[in-house]
């Protein structure tokens, strides 16, 4: 089983990185409920791209696995995995699980 807490911590590290570029009033809190995309999000499109890229780097560092978060599959899902930190955590955990299953 993939440790979802470790996935969430990798995303929080990415949030720390992205916050360094954002003005105080737009910084993201480290919470599963933090909204990442959509009308209620404080991140603009560049901010979301940054978060995706840095999260991929953090996941590689933590799990020693290359993942592609922003692929066609994610973009075409009816419920976008980028809605909140919580949904992104679930999505990344499922990608890591798929890789682990293939390896078996």
């Amino acid at each position: 089983m993939i440790d979802k807490q470790k996935v969430a911590e990798a995303i929080y590290k990415a949030i720390d990185e992205v916050n360094q570029q954002l003005p105080q009033d737009r910084r993201l809190p480290q919470s599963p409920d933090t909204v990442l995309a959509g009308p209620a999000a404080s991140l603009d499109s560049l901010g979301l791209v940054n978060l995706i890229v840095v999260t991929e780097e953090m996941i590689e560092e933590e799990f020693d696995q290359l993942i592609n978060i922003a692929d066609q599959k994610a973009m075409s899902q009816e419920n976008s995995p980028f809605r909140t930190v919580g949904t992104l955590t679930e999505y990344i955990a499922s990608l890591l699980q798929e890789t682990a299953d293939v390896a078996l």
Partner: protein
């Protein structure tokens, strides 16, 4: 200057860099980002809306294949001559130089191509073929052309790429957001940009104070004896200490002054410095020291006062975290870098410090360390003399007075922007602004080069006079702390008053503008002989009276 308004001009999405610039530490920067991909249009169209706002700084960061079309062909392995590429570089440089006139400073990161582009591989540095060979020429040509302007500085992008390592280029960022570099590149760029701005603002550190035991050498000299400290030899720590001393000594060649603050017996410590055969740093490399068992923060403050410097110009290096914390707490203006426990990292840590950047390096900078050492010798002599006048007579002071000219302009602007203590009005101006001010009225500015029997202190004084309605107002009265108290101050006033008399002015006056640091200037004016109007710190001299050059000063003058 404490705040910079920066216009970022780029052919890629530079918002990530702008975000870091806005958020990171002093000096503070607020950025405006011009639309990306319109570099030439933005630079050339001075009617564009961005240029209606006054920016202190422009950052122009481009990719070589976008602004040098011939290089794009070269990247496609087409047969392109170096001359054709360099012609385009010259044209681009002209556009940059023209736009640089609209800002105080322009920063231009050098061109790079992604490190995953291997070009011609083993032929890539071969003249007439290699892409990197061509790119190196392009960067050199651009640097040479841009050096025509004193307010344009090229920054080394390649260093940022190397620091960022494998995260330097991220194709996903490029395809999703038109950002060619990974964020670690931008972070390192921001460190260099902020260091450049601190240097431009005159916040460069001037004095490095070091501890001795386990900082300049390994072990406690008081316990081991100087023969047994770890220094040199075939030993990791010993070699690392020699390299660290060599790096410190090298800093003195670019204008840094060294001092010692150490808890030790002075006699024991100085004996080690004098006698140990592997000591790179000698007694004459240090402008001063406090070696005793007193509080280090107090010792740092005393040494800085003795050297006539401000605490904000000091770096304190000590291996002991408790001493570092003590100095940080007691003297927050002093920069105390975190220091590694691993001796092999000392030199690297010193070389990574960004606090030594300057916008120019003058002759005075390069010989600063030597000047401070001779100052220590002067003071030793002073201790032996009975009175101040006796001491001053023995110095054989000579002052060369020159009007502002192209040769002394860079040093004059540097002095204007860096001097805090003996500074009447603390105006900060670029070379261009200073020259424009001088030419826009009935104004004079004299520079003062000071020498004595111990050596040449270089251009260390400035006085400027604005003539309005039959009176002369002294606008700038600036003297480097390294020559304060040797009657050069009175010599400067005599120069201004003599000029006022020669053109028939009735009065010469000065308005003291207080800052947090220029109280020594007020104290001088209060004993200068000028009559003080206590209400507003104005000082007046009746130009009918002679203001004499001090007896022991010999003047050399040069006509405007």
């Amino acid at each position: 200057m404490s705040h910079y308004k920066c216009l970022c001009i780029s052919d890629f999405n530079i918002d990530n860099l702008a975000g870091y610039l806005n958020n990171q530490v002093q000096p503070s920067v607020s950025t405006t980002v011009a639309p990306y991909g319109q570099v030439i249009q933005t630079l050339m169209n001075e009617q564009a809306e961005y240029w209606q706002e006054k920016f202190n700084l422009a950052l122009v960061w481009t990719q070589p294949h976008n602004v040098i079309k011939a290089f794009q062909h070269a990247l496609n392995y087409e047969n392109i001559s170096l001359e054709k590429v360099l012609d385009e570089v010259d044209t681009f440089a002209s556009v940059l130089l023209n736009a640089a006139g609209r800002v105080d400073f322009m920063l231009v990161p050098s061109w790079v191509i992604p490190s995953y582009n291997r070009g011609y591989g083993m032929l890539d540095l071969k003249p007439g073929i290699g892409l990197n060979h061509m790119l190196m020429h392009m960067n050199l040509r651009l640097a040479e052309r841009l050096s025509q302007a004193n307010n344009v500085f090229m920054l080394n992008t390649q260093r940022w790429i190397e620091v960022a390592g494998r995260q330097a280029f991220n194709p996903k960022l490029w395809y999703m957001a038109k950002v060619p570099f990974g964020n670690p590149v931008f972070k390192e760029a921001v460190n260099d940009i902020k260091a450049a701005l601190a240097g431009i603002s005159g916040q460069t550190k001037k004095l490095v104070i070091v501890d001795l035991d386990d900082t300049l050498w390994g072990g406690i000299v008081g316990d081991l004896g100087w023969e047994n400290i770890s220094l040199g030899g075939h030993d990791l720590a010993g070699e690392a200490f020699v390299d660290f001393q060599t790096a410190l000594k090298s800093l003195t060649n670019r204008g840094l002054v060294l001092g010692i603050v150490s808890k030790n017996s002075e006699e024991v410590a100085l004996t080690a410095i004098k006698n140990h055969p592997e000591m790179v740093l000698k007694i004459d490399d240090f402008a001063g020291w406090r070696i005793n068992w007193q509080d280090k923060a107090q010792n740092v403050a005393d040494l800085v006062t003795e050297l006539n410097l401000g605490l904000q110009s000091v770096v304190f290096i000590d291996d002991n975290p408790v001493e570092r914390a003590r100095v940080r707490e007691a003297l927050p203006e002093v920069f105390v870098p975190e220091w590694p426990a691993d001796k092999s990292l000392y030199t690297k840590t010193l070389m990574e410090l960004t606090c030594f950047d300057t916008a120019s390096i003058s002759h005075e900078d390069k010989s600063r360390a030597e000047m401070y050492v001779t100052e220590r010798k002067r003071n030793d002599l002073r201790q032996q003399m009975g009175s101040l006048d006796d001491w001053l007579k023995t110095l054989e002071i000579s002052v060369k007075v020159e009007p502002l000219n192209p040769t002394n302009l860079p040093r004059t602007a540097q002095l204007l922007n860096k001097t805090n203590q003996m500074n009447l009005s603390t105006r900060r101006m670029t070379e261009t602004e200073l020259q424009a001010w001088l030419e826009s009225g009935d104004r004079q500015l004299w520079t003062f080069r000071v020498a004595d029997r111990f050596g040449d202190s270089g251009l260390t004084g400035i006085i400027s006079l604005d003539v309005v309605d039959g009176a002369g107002q002294i606008i700038d009265f600036i003297l480097s702390c390294r020559v304060m108290g040797r009657k050069v101050e009175e010599t400067m006033l005599a120069t201004a008053v003599n000029y006022a008399q020669s053109i028939g002015l009735k009065h010469v006056y000065a308005q003291y503008i207080p800052t947090a640091k220029n109280k020594p200037c007020l104290e001088f004016w209060q004993r200068s002989g000028f009559e003080q109007n206590g209400q507003n710190d104005t000082f007046m001299w009746n130009a009918a009276n002679c203001y004499c050059v001090p007896e022991h000063v010999t003047i050399q003058t040069e006509e405007a």
